[in-house]
Every structure is written in structure tokens, then in C-alpha cells.
Amino acid sequence: MNNRRQFIERCALTSFGLSVLPNLSNGQEGASGFGSAKRIIFLNAQGGMSHIDTFDPKEGSVKGPGETISTSADFQVTEYLKETAKIADQISVIRTMTSKIGVHGPATYFMRTAYAQRATVKHPNLGAWAEHYLGASHDTLPSSACINNGPRHGNGFFPPSYSPIPILDPESGLQNIKSRDGSDALKKKLDLAQELSTGFLGRYPDSNVKAYQEFYDNSIRLLRSEDLAAFDLTQEPQKVREQYGSNKFGQGCLLARRLVEAGIRYVEVSGGNWDMHQNLEAEMEEVSPPFDRAYATLITDLKERGLLDSTLVVLATEFGRKSQYDGGGRGHYPICFSTALAGAGIKRGFVYGESDKRGEWGDKPVTIGDFHATIGHAAGIPLEQPYISASGRPFVVGDKSGKPVMELFA
């Protein structure tokens, strides 16, 4: 069995273009930006943000309802990003993102993992990758969190304990953290539960049961953590809470800042309803202001706290939207769209790649694999060192074809 597995590994690695032993000279250590991101906030604009109406404004027949405005940097955005325009000199925009999938579910999965969805394997998000290579980021808090969304197998093929802790409602934070009784009484009950479970656990050495036990252990550790207050937004001054905006995305961004500050390495925040098929103008007016405000506030806040240089803020979305616009909505368009990176060694006020006049094709396409490899590089993950899954298949951050976009690093 073992031999068979080793054989598969070798075959897989060879066909993969990788050597069996990690080739250290190929690592990015020493390269610019490597390891500059001690923390990562991954913002996910749900539904497919229209690049033409946000970060990649166009003129002529494809132009959307919003006017083009100038920013504090050398590039322009639309008026839907008024606040972002003020901090444009802090961020890098990628205008030539490209994906293959135009359906929300699989496309979101792809953007989140850089792998196409499969039945036989679940792929991890970047937080789990980082935990695998870099270890836990804190001794009592989890290493990743996801806000406004479930964990969605974020651990992928890594242990379930690498799964992000889900906060479905940032206002409520982490619930049920007050234990009914003192730690001695709690321990007594837990010990008894463990003891009475001996028979069951012996009969079923099941991975899901083990995972369940681990969540209990982690919960107990968390309950005893002095940093538990990180989950509590009420500890923020009212003014700061208002600055981020009184909505799930805004408060989610604020919570993300608190969590990375407390030592959680990787935090995903989902939000917005960017799937504007029918009435783009009205929907942009509704969806963009809270986003714009939260995003700009997050960047400013991190900067003021001296955290931006070591925190990577990723703005992602599953795809862009079509160029055709007749006053109604826009359809899905994965071939060319925009994302943004900020902080942690990323250039400031920079645009990578240009799309054509209609925003349909990019001159220097950045695949989702490249995007992930870039983030992985910033996080200090050895990109060329594969992880061999239980079934003997090698996996790397950004899939095998993803290469970091080095031009993005200052």
C-alpha cells in the first residue's frame, strides 16, 4: 500500500513538472514581497462586480450609468467608488483578471480556491494553505475566519481544524461564549462525555467524528482565550462603527480588522449583491456606497494603525460583467474583470494590465491561479513545494499553472 502510494506520488510529481524533493533554490525566499503579508483580509464581492462600472471605467457604447472620475492616483474609477478614489494611491488594481467559469457557485469556488470544483476532492482556501505551511497564527484563536458566510469546506483536504471559524452576523459576533458554569464543572462534564463516548468512538474511528471532537477542543481553548473580545464589535467606538457603515459588509470589514489585529491570520469577508441583471443603475446606487465606504475605511484604518504594511487586503469577485449595456443590466463575464490588492509590499497607486476599449479582453491576463500565487507569495508560502494529499495527488497554491505577478510588488 505504502509503495503504491509512493509510486503514485512520484508519477504525479513527474508529470506535474516538479521534483520529488522540494528544490529550495526555486523558492521565492528573498524575492521582493515574499512574506510581507503577516495578515490577509480577503474581501469577496458576491455576485460578480461589474468592472466597467467600478475599477475599469469605459467610454462609448459600453459605458455604464456612472461617470468616470479621477482619483488620488494616476488611474480613474467610476463615481460609484468616490471614497475608494481617495485611497487609490494606496492600492493596486488588476484590470486583466481572467476566469473560466460564469456560474456563481462554481465561479465563487474557483475564485476562493484557484481550483475547479470536483466531486472527489475539496480544495482549501488561502487561510488553510497558510496554516499548513506557516503553522497556527495564534495559540488560542483559530488561524482563519470567514464573515457573512459559512465555512464551506475552507479547510479543503487539510484537517477540519483548519476550517475558518464562521461569523454569520458580525453584529452578533461569536455567540454562546458565556459558559453556564465554572471551568471545573465544565471540565467534569466534558470528561464524563468523553468517557461515556468510549464505546461509540471505538466502534466508529470516523474522520467526521474526530473533527467534531476537535471543534470541541478548539472551542474550549477559545473560551479560555484572553483575546475572545476580538469578536465583540461593541468594544469599538460608535464613531468607528459608523465610519465602516451600518450594514453587514461594513461591520464585517471592521470585525476583520479586529480579528487580524488580535492574531487571526486570514479573514474572509463576503458581501454585496453585485449580480445586477435587470436594473444596474438602481442596483449600483444601492450596493456600491456601502461597499465603497467600507473598503476605503478599512484601508485608511489599517494605515492609521500602522498595519497596512504588513496586512494584505484582497478585493475579489467571482467574475465581471458583460460590456453590452442598454440601460438594463449586465450579464456574467468571466473573461476579463478587475480585482485589487493593497498593503503588504504591494505597489501603491498602481494599475496592472489594461483591457480593450470595451473591457472584454485584457493585454496581460492574470489567471485566478496567478492571483492566488501572488497572495501566497506575499504570505510567505513556498509555492513550489507541493502538498501531497491522502490520495497521493500533489497540490500547490494557485494550482500548478499559477505564477505570482511580481510586477505588483514594490
Binding site: 483559530p142 469546506h153 452576523d169 461569536l174 454562546n176 461564549i177 468512538l201 467534531y212 478548539n218 449580480d275
Partner: protein, 649 residues
């Protein structure tokens, strides 16, 4: 009954170009109003309740025969790999499993004992039959369907309660799957007038997404790539996808924005939102168009069609299936486009329709499907046991798509009734050969419903909500929707204090109009109404127990999750579950209190949580810790925090 003379307001709704008006005139609906028409206002109330049909038509000998045929295929598959089936599960394991799989919750201690004490030979088959005609079956089956169909009770101003009521009724009536699916695909009218329109109106303005999901859910067709480009592996090309989509290209799925109209109708009596809600349920509608209008996208990449040209509807065929290819249909009649599509899709000779739903139900009962993933059946030979999958498809067809009879057969197999295995490693899941079902965590809904049964008792099964009146009350005839009609209904509703603020209503009694049948639900301040998951608004609020335990947010098909998480553990350890189970009003605790002796109390708890008596060692140990001062309430906590509670053997 109020009657109102109507003043047409239709120009507000259809201030579009004359050409489009001309088109619609010729279509069946909507017609132009006659200003003199007098119309009755819709009733404010629910349709009469539909009881769960109790008719199981397949003779039990046939059930056993079909179950044996399935077992034969499983044995052959196992034998081929030199594997043996698991031994039969014990009655205690079986009773808990079948209650969860057929009725959606664990059995109470009493129900378990009744089964264990029953000495008849065919008691398992009898219990299966009993549970399949229970209210629990209706509820459990709805949870499955709602997850698959991404059902939400409301989205924006759209209300899907009439649709939800219709779905539940179809389950209660045990309508055949092909008929249900056919209705979903062909229904016409508005959200207010016709429940099943809710399926196409789930995604107004996103017909391509809707179709991709239709093909995935009902046929296991992996088309998520073909929507934008040729599928790299499967046979689906982008052209295939568009040709299929063209069957819906003769359909007008209204996606107009009701807020615009609400802005114009708003007055001091009724808010914009109230008017918008009344209008929305009528504006979102499905109607036939005069012609098929779908065109290839402007950025169409391949040279087998011209970008922007009209698509000819055509069914995909599966070459690999050879003569199993579904029959061709004449698609020249444009008005019948969706009808032809539905006929083709649900046809018993369509090699994929029966297999897809059988494979799904199998996964629910066994934890793993015969072919994984359930959303990609493009090559049926990739099943772990292709002969078994074919057999399941054949049985489904023979049963004429009766999902309940199918489950009845499945639950009667030796394979289902065998001892459970642990979850295979992730890379081997698609090779699992069903020596028995797989150990799994209860779904979110099963967990919640089980806790309720312990806390408020089994009468919770009978509490049925029905919010459909909140939608059907707005059922103005589409072509007669007028200012006065809207005013009239809104006035009636204001009189009935319908629009009370959401918050205060929540703390008041459950609005009686929302109850279809059963006793009044109890209310817990921490958890809201104590009714089964299927009767709560869909999906539950993000911070509800159900969502925390993985209820699907209903954005994607089949997105419910059994993953653990820290918040779940915290919920069980510190959350209101303890009050529900060990609190003063708990049905469980009053049953425990009936017993004098400590040993009997412990046994009652063990039967309630695990469906079995404690072993001698367990009983002694508990006795000991209680001597040392552990309270009964702490023991309850300990038991439901054990994996044996939340996992299904």
C-alpha cells in the same frame, strides 16, 4: 365580499413601446383590461389544508422483491472486490436511523420502546410504512426539496410562500416526481396566482442560470462550463446549452422592477413597501411569448453558429447511451416549447431523469450516492456500481416516479438496514460499494427537529404553517391590477392589523392566519418559534440554530452542510439548547420526572438521546458521578454533547 369598480392603471405598468404591446396582445396573457369590468377581490386566507396521503399502493411482496433486486446488485458489486456486506443493524440502531431518514427526527423514548417491544416479524417494514405517511415525512421531504431548489420564502419584494405551499402540497399528495417537475417547468401566471411559477421566477432575468440549475438538478448534467464555453471533458458544448435554453426563449419571465410602480402609487395611507409588495406578487409572472427570442451571445466564440443569431431549440442526446437516447420531439410549435422540454426531460425513456433523482435519494439514505458527484452524471459508467445505478433507475421508472414508494423499497433493503461504516477517505468516496450506510452527522434540520421533539414533544410534527395567504391575497387578475384594487386589499389588510411592525409581531402570538393546522407553537425568547425547520421562514435567519448547523443559505443548489464548526460546539455547550432540553417546560424532563429511581431516570435519558439503554458500565459510572454531586441537568448536558447524539449510525 367587496367589489370595486376598476380604473385602469395599466399604462403605468406597460408604458413600453407599442410593438411589444402588439406582441403580447396576440399571446395568451396578459390581455388588456376592460375598464368596466367588475372584479372580486381575492380572499384573504389560506387554501384548505391538504393531509398527507396515506395510500401506499405497492404490495409489500413487491416492495420486498424490488429491495432484493437492489441487494443482489450490491452483493455482486461487493463480491467483485472481495468485500462482504455488513451484518444487520440492531433494532435500536435501526429505529433511530429510520425515524431520522423517513420522518426527519429521532424517535422519542416511548416510540423506541414501542418498536423494540413489538415482536412481529415484519416490524421494520411496518414502521417504514408508518413513517412514510406521517407529517414528519412531509416535513423531511420538504427540507430536501427546499435545499435542492434553493427555496427562499422571500427575495426582495417577491414572496414565494404560495410556491412553498404548493411544494408541500405535492409532497403531501405524493404527486409523482415527473409531474411535479413538469409543473415547475411549464407553470404560467404570477407568484400570487400560481404556486409552481415560483420555480422559473426564482431567477427572473437569469434564465441561463436557471436552466443550468434545471439540467444539473434534474438530469445531473454538468453544464456549469458550457454556459460560457465548450465543456472541456463532457459532451456538452456551448451550442448544446444554448439550444436547450432556447426552449425557454419563448417564455416571458417578467423581471420588471415593482419599486418604480410603488413610487407612483405610494400615498399617506400605504407605504412604498406595502404597495410594492402588493404589486410585486403580480408583476413577477411567467407568460408565453409569440416567438422564441434567444440568440447566441455577441461574444460567441465558436464557428458553429453566428454571434447574435437566433438559436434553434434542440435537445441534447447522449451518444454513449446508444439506443437509450430520449425520443425526439417536434419543436416547431413555439407555444409548446416549454411543454416539449418538460415532456422530454421527465420522459421515462430519458435515461437520465430517473437515475438522477434515484441517485439523490440514495445519497440521502446512505450518505454517499451510487455516482458521485450527484450533479455530474454525464458518464453513468463512472458510478461506483453502474449496474446498481441502472437498477435504481429502472425501479424508479417502474414506480412511475413515485418517490415515496422508491424510498420505501430503499429502506427495506438489507444494505440500508445493515450496520453503518465510517466515512471512506475522501479520494475513495466515489468508489464506495454500500456494505451498509455511512455514519453521518444529522443534517441541521434533523438536529433542530430532534431537539424540538424532545423539548416540546411530538405534537410539533403536526404544526404546519402556511404563509401563502400573504401572497394569494394580492392575486389580482394580472390584466386588471389597478390602483383601486390594490387600495382595496391594502385597506382590508390594514383593518386586520396585518402590517404590524416585524419586531413587535415576533413577540406577539404567532399570527393565526399563518397556521395551517396543529396546536399553537410555543415560543422561546432565545430561539423564536419552536416549530420544525420546514415550517419556519426559509432559510432561517443567519444566526439561527439551523444556519449555524449548516442549513443552506439557499443561494446554490444542495448547499446544506454537515461540517462541524466552533460556533456549533459553542451553541451546544453554552447556547439555549440546554434550556430547551433541561428547562422547566421540557417534555423530556417531565418524562424523566415520572420515574422514581435514578436508574430509571438515566435509562429514560439514554433512550431519548441515543435510542438505547445504557450499558451496565455506563449506568454505574453515571450513578457514581451523581453520587459525587452531578445534577440531572448536568447529565442532560453531557449526553447531548456526545457524538452519539448528533451522529446517525
Amino acid at each position: 365580499m367587496d367589489t370595486i369598480k376598476l380604473i385602469p392603471l395599466i399604462l403605468l405598468f406597460f408604458a413600453t413601446n407599442l410593438e411589444a404591446q402588439e406582441d403580447r396582445k396576440n399571446a395568451r396573457l396578459p390581455k388588456w383590461p376592460n375598464p368596466d369590468t367588475v372584479v372580486k377581490l381575492p380572499e384573504i386566507g389560506n387554501a384548505p389544508q391538504v393531509e398527507v396521503s396515506t395510500e401506499l399502493w405497492l404490495p409489500s411482496t413487491s416492495v420486498q422483491k424490488a429491495a432484493a433486486m437492489i441487494d443482489k446488485q450490491i452483493m455482486a458489486g461487493l463480491a467483485h472486490e472481495n468485500l462482504k456486506p455488513n451484518p444487520a443493524s440492531s433494532d435500536t440502531v435501526f429505529v433511530r436511523r429510520i425515524y431520522l431518514d423517513a420522518a426527519g427526527r429521532i424517535p422519542t423514548a416511548e416510540e423506541t420502546r414501542v418498536f423494540l417491544d413489538d415482536s412481529s416479524r415484519d416490524k421494520r417494514a411496518q414502521l417504514i410504512d408508518e413513517l412514510l405517511v406521517s407529517d414528519g415525512y412531509r416535513s423531511h421531504q420538504f427540507n430536501w426539496l427546499a435545499d435542492m431548489l434553493r427555496h427562499q420564502t422571500s427575495m426582495g419584494l417577491r414572496r414565494y410562500a404560495n410556491y412553498e405551499r404548493w411544494l408541500k402540497d405535492q409532497i403531501a399528495l405524493n404527486r409523482k416526481w415527473n409531474e411535479v417537475v413538469s409543473d415547475l417547468l411549464t407553470a404560467e401566471g404570477t407568484l400570487a396566482s400560481n404556486g409552481p411559477t415560483g420555480y422559473l421566477l426564482r431567477d427572473p432575468a437569469m434564465p441561463l442560470d436557471n436552466l443550468a440549475n434545471t439540467l444539473t438538478i434534474f438530469l445531473g448534467a454538468n453544464v456549469s462550463c458550457a454556459q460560457c464555453h465548450d465543456h472541456p471533458f463532457a459532451e456538452w458544448s456551448q451550442k448544446d446549452f444554448y439550444q436547450m435554453a432556447a426552449f425557454f426563449g419563448g417564455t416571458y419571465v417578467s423581471d420588471r422592477d415593482p419599486r418604480k410602480i410603488a413610487n407612483q402609487l405610494e400615498n399617506e395611507l400605504h407605504s412604498k413597501r406595502q404597495v410594492g409588495t402588493a404589486v410585486a406578487q403580480n408583476m413577477y409572472a411567467v407568460f408565453p411569448e409569440i416567438e422564441q427570442k434567444l440568440t447566441y451571445p455577441e461574444d460567441y466564440f465558436y464557428n458553429n453558429a453566428n454571434p447574435g443569431s437566433k438559436v434553434d431549440p434542440s435537445f441534447i442526446s447522449w451518444e454513449a447511451e446508444g439506443n437509450q437516447r430520449p425520443p425526439d420531439f417536434d419543436t416547431s410549435n413555439v407555444e409548446g416549447l416549454r411543454d416539449s422540454f418538460a415532456t422530454w426531460l421527465t420522459h421515462s425513456e430519458n435515461p437520465r431523469f430517473a437515475v438522477a433523482v434515484a441517485n439523490r435519494l440514495w445519497k440521502r439514505a446512505f450518505g454517499i450516492a451510487v455516482q458521485e458527484p450527484i450533479e455530474d452524471l454525464d458518464n453513468l459508467e463512472r458510478a461506483s456500481n453502474p449496474a446498481l445505478l441502472r437498477e435504481l433507475g429502472n425501479i424508479m421508472v417502474l414506480l412511475k416516479f413515485d418517490l415515496r414508494e422508491f424510498q420505501r423499497i430503499m429502506f427495506n433493503t438489507q444494505a440500508y438496514q445493515a450496520e453503518a461504516n465510517i466515512t471512506p477517505p475522501i479520494g475513495e468516496i466515489d468508489e464506495y460499494l454500500f456494505a451498509g450506510p455511512v455514519l453521518r452527522r444529522m443534517t441541521s434540520e434533523q438536529t433542530w427537529d430532534s431537539i424540538l421533539a424532545l423539548s416540546v414533544g411530538t405534537e410539533v410534527d403536526a404544526i404546519k404553517t402556511d404563509y401563502s395567504h400573504r401572497v394569494t391575497r394580492f392575486d389580482f387578475p394580472y390584466d386588471l391590477m389597478t390602483m383601486d384594487a390594490i387600495e382595496g386589499v391594502l385597506g382590508k389588510m390594514a383593518d386586520a392589523d396585518y402590517w404590524g411592525s416585524g419586531k413587535s409581531r415576533r413577540n406577539q402570538q404567532f399570527p393565526e392566519a399563518d397556521l395551517a393546522s396543529g396546536p399553537m407553537p410555543s415560543f422561546s425568547s432565545g430561539k423564536g418559534f419552536l416549530i420544525r425547520a420546514s415550517e419556519l421562514p426559509q432559510p432561517a435567519e443567519p444566526f439561527h440554530f439551523l444556519r449555524m448547523f449548516g442549513q443552506s443559505p439557499r443561494l446554490l443548489p444542495d448547499d446544506g452542510s454537515r461540517e462541524g464548526s466552533i460556533p456549533q460546539a459553542l451553541m451546544l455547550m453554552n447556547g439555549p439548547v440546554h434550556d430547551l432540553l433541561a428547562g422547566r417546560n421540557s417534555v423530556l424532563m417531565s418524562a424523566v420526572d415520572q420515574h422514581e429511581k435514578r436508574g430509571a431516570k438515566i435509562e429514560e435519558l439514554y433512550f431519548s438521546f441515543f435510542g438505547r439503554a445504557p450499558s451496565e458500565v455506563e449506568a454505574d459510572r453515571i450513578d457514581q458521578v451523581m453520587d459525587e454531586g452531578m445534577s440531572l441537568s448536568d447529565l442532560v448536558w453531557t449526553l447531548y454533547n456526545m457524538p452519539e447524539f448528533i451522529f446517525v449510525q
